[in-house]
Symmetry: C2
Subunit: 270 residues, 2 copies
Amino acid sequence: MKLQVYTEPPLSVAEQVLREAFSKKRFVTMLCRCSVVYEGRSATILGEGDRLVIVKPDGAVLVHRPRGYSPVNWQPDSQVLEARLDEQDVLVVRSVRAKPREVLEARISRVYLITIAEGMEDHAEFQELMDEAEIRDVLASHPDLIEPGLRVVRVEKRMGRSGYADIYAVDSEGRHVIIEVKRVTAGREAVEQLKRYVDTWRRENPGAPVRGILAAPSITEPAARLLREYGLEFKRIDLKQVRSIASRERRASKQPSLLSFVGRRGEGAQ
Amino acid sequence: MKLQVYTEPPLSVAEQVLREAFSKKRFVTMLCRCSVVYEGRSATILGEGDRLVIVKPDGAVLVHRPRGYSPVNWQPDSQVLEARLDEQDVLVVRSVRAKPREVLEARISRVYLITIAEGMEDHAEFQELMDEAEIRDVLASHPDLIEPGLRVVRVEKRMGRSGYADIYAVDSEGRHVIIEVKRVTAGREAVEQLKRYVDTWRRENPGAPVRGILAAPSITEPAARLLREYGLEFKRIDLKQVRSIASRERRASKQPSLLSFVGRRGEGAQ
DNA sequence: GCCTACATGTCGACA
DNA sequence: TGTCGACGTGTAGGC
């Protein structure tokens, strides 16, 4: 990786440096004093202050204030990147995104530092464990975790136009069961989602008995109330248990090497 | 703002620099080669590659890959920040968040650049224009945009436990009208939200006629179908019109200076 | 390209 | 603190 560093460059120098960096699609970070104007789906104005501005090779732009996780302004990607000196000796960095049409402008009055990185190498795989799909798969292959005697018919079953039911099964008494899985506390929205699937199923299978089960580590009180109102059911999922099954089955089937990383420290979220 | 820049520091130097920066709550950016392990609400593993690591004074941590808007790993805030040299001469940066308990570890094999910023000054106001609240207020003060003869009774009316209806009004025939406002294309979720409010209202006012109107710039086909099914209505909102009214009224009432920024360039979304 | 649902979503407001 | 809803949500996946 090659790196260029410019400390306190005059704005005219910064302008040239940024232009070249943008055209050559470098990875740019800039500590500067700037104000920001954005207009697109919404519109925002941010007064002057010290910020970190990041411009990535793919045109992603991030403006970070000294605090917080979220960028105050950004562009997920941009097609046009410009740097120019304004009439009043302000360095204007302008980023335009085509669809939706969005414009972001940082008006920079002072540059503390610019770094230009060329040839950042990053081809590593990103592995996510315990996302909803994995929980769903564990439950599908161990339906007893939900209810004894449950027989899984299908995972990710399309429910007409309503979307996909996570698990579609038949219970010990032959009733159809639609199961919606959530990896976090289920709120009202999860209940509505399950309700939609059950309604769709009922419409397409008039008269046939069907149950709806919301499977999640927990549920909010209002959501539980709504669930009862709709005649649906809740099944608490023990994430620890699911985790241990998932990691065991991953160990048995997939890349055992990577997994050794996990579980070495920390005992997981409570 | 005071700035320290370290180019290609040995890991032992980087360790000391980071420790001091963390303890003194500096704003840190680091270009480095690292792998990342995260465990908390979920768990992830990221192999080695060149990344930008940001640590903010409040403990926010961001790890950015060369592409894309989203950080690949992060910590919205953290209570514990450590830097230490591992047995195998790897610089480990560990960030622990208390609630929920989440741990992020970057294992750094090489440091290209560290910058430590002290005293970043950023007290500027962030102004958002045309968020849902502003659209709602414009519609509330100009109900004719929704329907002639509409009389607004209340804005942000609490609907039992269901949440808040954006606008609560009475139409020209004396029927109650519940209006849900959306800033963007309304999907199924918006329809269900409105339905919930209308249902709640009906339960608390049995027999009284009530209408539900979804006011949005557009609506997805499935959502429109669902809306009809529920006996609710859709009213298309002309964002341009709302925008011009909002900016006119802002100009008349509030800070006219800031507003001069907006509208100078760009003609709005798409 | 539309639509749906997930996300370590984050964040703010309010009961 | 719990719960809810907005967000310029971003992002992946299906059709």
